[in-house]
């Protein structure tokens, strides 16, 4: 293919950065979780890009580590999303809010 793998990596970096920004900036817990997903996706992308680079460098020999690991990451992301959301529900029940600003229980 014609798209150079480095560009994929840069794209992954950008997406990751956006996810991080959102993680810091948003108040809403659920949005924050979504940003986490975004970051995971970016990581996925970078893995695949690297795998592609290796494949091309090895003269077509497929490097399966990338995709395998990407699959694992997807699974883990799903798990984490599920658990996170369950926590959000529990949080909402106790505090009636999903705003991070008001959930400063760890204060001091």
């Amino acid at each position: 293919m014609s798209v150079p793998s480095e560009h994929l990596l840069v794209l992954a970096a950008i997406l990751f950065g956006i996810g991080v920004a959102g993680f810091f900036l948003r108040r809403n817990v659920i949005i924050v979780l979504m940003c986490i997903e975004l970051m995971l996706n970016a990581a996925n992308l970078s893995f695949l890009a690297a795998s592609r680079m290796h494949t091309l460098a090895n003269g077509g020999q497929p490097d399966t580590q990338g995709p395998i690991f990407a699959i694992f990451i997807i699974v883990v992301a799903a798990i984490e999303a599920a658990v996170g959301l369950a926590l959000v529900i529990a949080l909402y029940r106790n505090k009636q809010t999903v705003s991070l600003d008001e959930v400063a229980d760890l204060k001091n």
């Binding site: 991080v20 810091f24 991070l100 400063a104 204060k107």
Partner: protein, 705 residues
């Protein structure tokens, strides 16, 4: 130095006995304190050990300004029973007696050895052993230290006996004897050491004990200041001493006293050595000035009268103040090598004698008269040293120990009997009440003033004769010396007249003066006898041979030989017999005349003193303050030094050091409070921190490639 024949290992018992005595007395003191309940825990109590807590609350008098305050009230606790502490007296006195007996035995052995045996020694301890520089601590009895040790232990023993009576009832009875014995130990170390370093150890030790003993009644306030003054002035001298000894090490590579003395002659030929010797001698002499209270470092001695009278007798008449003389005689070749240095020593000595003598003329406190007299007589000893008459200096040292100790103890007896009155203007006619004290005091005064045939006469005359013999500028020194002798006779008999004769200037209804107990008067009698016969140590050479004239000189010859050879090389001076007799006669006449004058003028009472004061108040004030030297020191030295110290403590200590330390605390505190703000519970903030650190790690990671 000849090697000793026989085993003299027991020599070190001489200083060890007083040391042991001191330790035992310390223990007794501790026990006494315990029996008084000082160490018992009590609510709200001082828990402060010491003199039974009898605080007079005199407070700070601002004594720096008047060194000559009439501290006429030698107040101290009288009535405290000593309990087990009373044992301290016999123990301390016995230690002294033991040391004295051992000294006699040692000297006997030395004397039996004849001309060949110059010393017996016993090595105690190898202190420093570096191959190139070795210091051995050993006890040496040679001819010079024989004389010194007999004087120190003998007179010391008598004073110890006396002190048992004088200090009776004092709350710190055992402590006193502890200090006294410690002092004697240090003094013995000083005299008996083979090495300059051991001497210095003793030197410092006596300084310390002097401080402790002067300030013995520190609750009164001013004795503590006096002790401090003595110590600091001594210290200045000590610094000079140290630098001088460094120079000696540099020159000779050793601190062994006899080695140095032997090596001086040989070294003199070399380049620059004579100047270095001059410098070393000058510095050592500076140390001697501090210890022996010469100009300019003498103002501590009158203040030292704040201590108990036995202390004044022992330390400031007979022993510590003679350490400087001993030093010079011991290292006589170092000093004799430079005639300029000898002249300086002579000048300093005679000037000190003059200034102190003139001050004694107008003192009212009986102890102060004696104090200035001591300074004056020490000046005579230095005059002797400066004239090359080393043996005469030692002779005068010994006789002075006898009669000055006698006078001090006698004064103590007077004070004791007068219930601690020290001002002569409030005494009078005491011969009626204290006959034994009176008679012995009379003998002592006669000796001091140089009345013929007593010990003081011979020693003083010998000094003046040697000074005269040197000729040239020494004639001037002789003249001043003669003047001082006149003053000595005058003030001595003024003292006698005011104290023991004339109308009674105290209220007989309030109290009756009483004679002192036997434990105090017997030492007086013994010392009186010594003061009379002490002259036999060194009759003038013009006396017939059966009197063994100049016995002391012959005895000390082996020690003095190097120095005397150096002096003789510059030209010998000898007096014709006629001149000698003339000087002897002059001395007698002068002493008798002035003694008579002084006595007559004052035997009627204090009218003469008051008249003098009225006629020339300025001169009286000037003299009574030791020519204003003390005040000068206050203004020029003590004041600025205190100011600098204050500045340093305020600025450097306050700003920098405190600032630094407090600042460290402040930093920790502020840092902590800022850290606390971080635990905000704000999750996003936590996340932010995590992200930031991750970025940092990533950065480092990338940077590594």
């Amino acid at each position: 130095m000849q090697s000793p024949q026989g085993d003299y290992g027991w020599l070190w018992w001489i200083p060890a006995l007083p040391l042991l005595g001191s330790a035992v007395c310390a223990l007794l003191h501790f026990l006494t304190l315990r029996s008084r309940g000082v160490f018992a825990p009590k609510a709200g109590g001082h828990g402060h050990g010491g003199h039974g807590g009898h605080d007079h609350g005199h407070g700070k008098h601002g004594h720096d300004d008047h060194a000559h305050d009439d501290h006429a009230h030698d107040d101290h606790e009288h009535s405290v029973p000593a309990g087990i502490g009373a044992l301290a007296h016999p123990i301390a006195a016995l230690a002294m007696l033991g040391a004295f007996i051992l000294s006699i035995l040692a000297v006997k052995d030395l004397a039996a050895g004849g001309e060949q045996l110059t010393s017996i020694e016993s090595s105690v301890w190898h202190w420093i052993d570096t191959g190139a520089f070795n210091i051995d601590i050993s006890i040496v009895i040679d001819r010079l230290s024989a004389v010194m040790v007999l004087v120190v232990t003998g007179v010391g023993f008598l004073i110890h006996v006396y002190a048992g009576g004088y200090m009776k009832g004092d709350a710190g009875f055992a402590k006193f004897f502890c200090y006294l014995n410690l002092f004697v130990f240090s003094m013995l170390m000083l005299i008996l050491s083979s090495s300059l370093l051991g001497l210095f150890v003793g030197w410092e030790g006596v300084g310390l004990c002097s401080y402790l003993l002067i300030g013995f009644w520190y609750e009164k306030g001013w004795p503590a200041e006096a002790g401090q003054k003595a110590f600091v002035m001594n210290r200045i001298g000590d610094a000079s001493f140290l630098i001088g000894s460094f120079l000696l090490v540099h020159l000779f590579g050793t601190l062994d006293l006899s080695d140095i003395a032997a090596a001086v002659q040989g070294k003199l030929g070399e380049d620059g050595v004579s100047f270095q010797l001059l410098l070393a001698g000058l510095l050592l002499f500076g140390g001697a000035c501090g210890k022996s209270a010469q100009l300019p470092l003498f103002t501590w001695l009158p203040d030292a009268m704040a201590g108990p009278t036995p202390v004044s007798a022992l330390i400031h008449a007979a022993t510590m103040v003679t350490a400087g003389i001993y030093l010079v005689v011991r290292l006589n070749p170092v000093f004799a090598a430079s005639p300029e240095l000898m002249l300086v020593i002579g000048i300093v000595g005679v000037l000190t004698a003059f200034v102190a003598g003139s001050t004694a003329l107008v003192q009212r406190d009986i102890k102060k008269v004696l104090a200035y007299s001591t300074v004056s007589q020490l000046g005579y000893m230095f005059l002797a040293l400066g004239s090359g008459a080393f043996a005469s200096a030692i002779f005068h040292l010994a006789t002075h120990a006898f009669f000055k100790a006698l006078l001090f103890l006698g004064a103590g007896s007077v004070i004791h009997g007068m219930h601690h009155e020290q001002d002569m203007h409030r005494m009078g006619n005491l011969r009626k009440y204290m006959p034994q004290t009176f008679l012995t005091f009379l003998v002592g005064s006669a000796a001091l003033s140089g009345l013929p045939l007593l010990s003081g006469f011979f020693s003083k005359d010998e000094i003046l004769a040697h000074t005269f013999a040197n000729g040239g500028v020494y004639y001037v020194l002789w003249g001043i010396g003669l003047l001082t002798a006149m003053m000595t006779a005058f003030y001595t008999w003024r003292m006698v007249a005011l104290t023991f004769f004339g109308p009674e200037r105290f209220d007989t209804k309030k109290f009756q003066p009483h004679e002192s107990p036997a434990v105090m008067t017997i030492p007086l009698i013994i010392l009186a006898v010594l003061s009379v016969i002490g002259g036999a140590l060194s009759f003038p050479p013009v006396f017939p041979a059966i009197f063994h004239p100049e016995f002391l000189h012959h005895w000390l010859h082996p020690v003095l030989q190097p120095g005397e050879e150096l002096i003789a090389a510059r030209g010998a001076h000898a007096l014709s017999h006629t001149t000698e007799w003339a000087l002897l006669g002059l001395g007698s006449v002068v002493a008798l005349a002035l003694a008579h004058a002084g006595f007559r003028k004052h035997m009627a009472g204090i009218a003469a003193d008051e008249a003098t004061a009225a006629r020339s108040p300025v001169r009286t004030a000037f003299l009574s303050m030791a020519w204003g030297l003390d005040a000068a020191y206050q203004k020029l030295i003590v004041g600025p030094v205190r100011l600098v110290a204050l500045m340093i403590s305020a600025v450097i200590d306050g700003t920098f050091i405190d600032g630094f330390v407090n600042g460290a605390g402040e930093v920790a505190l502020s840092f902590g409070s800022r850290m606390r703000a971080m635990t905000s519970g704000n999750i996003a903030a936590y996340g932010l921190w995590m992200g930031a650190i991750t970025a940092l790690i990533a950065l480092i990671f990338v940077w590594q490639r």
